[in-house]
Amino acid sequence: AAKGTWCPACGVAALAPGIQRDALLALAKQSILAKLHMPARPNIPQPPSRGTLLTALRRMRAQRSDTAAFPGMLQDGHIPHLHPGMGLQEYEILSFAESGSSTSRRVHLHFRFSRELAGSTKILQATLYLFWAAPSPQPVTIRLLQPDPVGLNMTVASETRLEVRKSGWTTLDVGAAVQSLFRQEIPRLTVELEVPEDWESPFPSDHSDSHWPFVVAQAQARTPHHVHRR
């Protein structure tokens, strides 16, 4: 409505321009946070380095031919739309490993997912990307661990034995493990990598930017449950 008159549709005095702008900015913040299921804007402890991020994107592009959202994102400043799955909001999540306890034969990696996201989405697929620095072929065991329902101990959700033939990236489907995590109080995936006695560790000791393990997950908003009362 014009300044100083009554808004014909809502019967409220028109706001002065400055107050109206502040009200609209507050509305924009509230609207975006609500749609991202966030109580408040996140404080970013330590974003991944640009080198780590770009390596992960190149690796993903090399791995997937479809127009995945991430690989295109930093290329030309354009964010390609995700595949519209039945109109439900979709997410693509890139989670970099946090180092856990490690020995010469065993390495632990942790991947955290936000509770808000875990509580409002279901996992469509999730892939673990690992880099090996193995000069010669050798056996490796990969265990996916998750907290038991009480949260005191870790249980093995799955175990995979594979033969690392040469240095380079390898991928592992962790969709089922991440999906079951999304129903837990603390959605955190722990990956244990182990080599047999007397074998040299194939894990890059430096864990430089260009070899940092990561998980890429596709998720979709859960349809709200309809409760039918008889």
């Binding site: 609207s31 991944p48 994102m73 739309h81 979709e90 999540i93 890139l94």
Partner: protein, 114 residues
């Protein structure tokens, strides 16, 4: 649809850009740099009812005149979005994961009268 001008009073789309740097969100939203939070504003007198945007054809203009002259109770209709599109966001969540999502129906492209 019609974009609001300086003194538009009829139903139109008001552009409003939220610059994420201006609200201190540029550290956690990687892309885009802002959000076009456009909204619909203005009057929808009876004879405009049911016409998305302003009358663009002679036929519609005549129809409007008939409606305006009609003795029906003059109940205004509402100025609402008639076309919207998603807001694509790339952001850090609180665990420093990078998340990409398209939030549906966040950007108003055009307005019209119900």
């Amino acid at each position: 649809g019609v974009d609001c001008g300086g003194d538009s009073r009829m139903c139109c789309r008001q552009e409003f850009f939220v610059d994420f740097k201006e609200i201190g969100w540029e550290d956690w939203i990687i892309q885009p740099e802002g959000y076009h939070m456009n909204y619909c504003a203005g009057l929808c007198p009876l004879h405009m009812a049911g016409i998305p945007g302003l009358a663009a054809s002679f036929h519609t203009a005549v129809l409007n005149r008939i409606k305006a002259a009609s003795a029906a109770a003059a109940v205004d209709s509402c100025c609402v979005p008639t076309q919207r599109r998603p807001l694509s966001l790339l952001y850090y969540d609180r665990d420093s994961n990078i998340v990409k999502t398209d939030i549906p129906d966040m950007i108003v492209d055009s307005c019209g009268c119900t």
